[in-house]
Symmetry: C2
Subunit: 248 residues, 2 copies
């Protein structure tokens, strides 16, 4: 792009306008580096990776910096080896580590899902990334975790549990209730570590399918199905399904 006659500020402001067309079409070429920059335009190159290798990195990554760091590290470390730059230049797993505990401990979206969603957005165009994320969120709610069996387990986990929700507080809370154990327990931590590995393996499987052109259209946007952003299982909350607080 010829930038000789416009300022960097005009370029940057222009990028916001150009983003409209880009995001509505290929969804990802909206980024304009400044006139002195090189930049790493989206989508970043992807090569198929081994879901089990990624899961193993994520399991160990969980014990380094928890769930959000774990899924991001599991997907990105193989891409650092297979692709190199720009994956080797941007410390994305460390930057989004605050996604842990449903984002900074608030119990909202499971941090493992947040990590996978953020990474997918660097690899796949927006529409494809959202299809991958919706498939991943839906699979997450229906899956009884953990599936992953570590080669060298940090702890045991005796209870498997499904959440019917992508929310950390609900997913972990249901496990705690079923297991009869508090959140602050090595088995719950191991449950989250293996769940993190499982989310990574599933995200990689979806990314591999997308890269082969076999992903399909994915699930519809809940906004379209329900007329508002929502989970697929309204009555999970809207039918007195949320338990009363126990008396202390």
């Amino acid at each position: 792009m010829q930038t000789g006659k416009i300022t960097r500020r005009e370029l940057l402001i222009g990028s916001s306008v150009m983003a409209l067309g880009a995001l509505s079409s290929s969804a990802h070429s909206a980024f304009l580096p400044n006139s002195g920059g090189v930049g790493f335009p989206l989508p970043w190159p992807y090569k198929k990776i081994d879901p089990q290798e990624a899961a193993s990195i994520s399991y160990n990554g969980f014990y380094t910096a928890a769930c959000c760091y774990g899924t991001a590290k599991g997907i990105l470390m193989p891409l650092q080896r297979l692709v190199g730059e720009p994956y080797t230049l941007v410390p994305l797993p460390e930057a989004i580590a605050s996604g842990r505990g449903g984002i900074a401990g608030w119990g909202t979206t499971c941090g493992a899902l947040v990590g996978a969603a953020v990474v997918a957005g660097f690899i796949a165009p927006l529409d494809a990334a959202e299809s991958i994320i919706r498939d991943l969120f839906h699979w997450f709610g229906e899956t009884s975790f953990p599936i992953y069996e570590p080669v060298s387990a940090k702890n045991v986990v005796r209870t498997r549990s499904a959440s019917n929700s992508p929310l950390c507080h609900i997913a972990a809370g249901k496990w705690c209730k079923k297991a009869g154990k508090p959140f602050k327990h090595p088995e719950r931590e191991e449950w989250c570590a293996r769940l993190t590995a499982d989310v990574t393996a599933q995200a990689v499987t979806l990314l591999n399918s997308w890269s082969e052109g076999t992903l399909g259209s994915g699930r519809r946007n809940p906004r379209t199905v329900y007329g508002a952003p929502a989970q697929y299982n309204c009555l999970e909350c809207h039918s007195g399904g949320v338990p009363e607080m126990k008396k202390p």
Copy 2:
């Protein structure tokens, strides 16, 4: 770092182990570029920016690619001008645009909050980023939106509403109920656009305070307060507070 005698794979595997110490201390120097890479280690340089300039960029950014893109663009575009690289090299707002609608339309964490949280993690060390995020989430729930008044408004919005929740489905749903309007309505869209500007201005205010050393310790991690990841207002959900579904 001298890498002459170890392979890239060893380096990458090593980075995961080194991350443990790094994340438990400064939280951010865990990233190792490959032996051919330069890398942009965390935290990225920050210069104080104008909350109102950032809010204005976010408001317009919302109408480009919605809430998550909007907050990220509002914070990062001024930093592209004031700092330059690495902000000019990484298309972060476009990469995380799928955060819209509570992440790909699932109604989980408000996308405006997700965008601000991801950006904060590149700027502030993990502990500080999490303090900023917790303050932002708490402020979000208690604030009656919108506050922001666009210089050139795309639509009107007649109803102000507070959510008591960082979740998109709950925040937008409460606005729709109070306004008596469906989610798919120009006033709801304008409400989200101005809320996105408000979240950006508040995030920038917190980042500026952090950069001046006046942020303080912030709110405690809900995991510590409640023994599990959670909001601060348990009875919002755990007291029959979730309405029954209306009959179609």
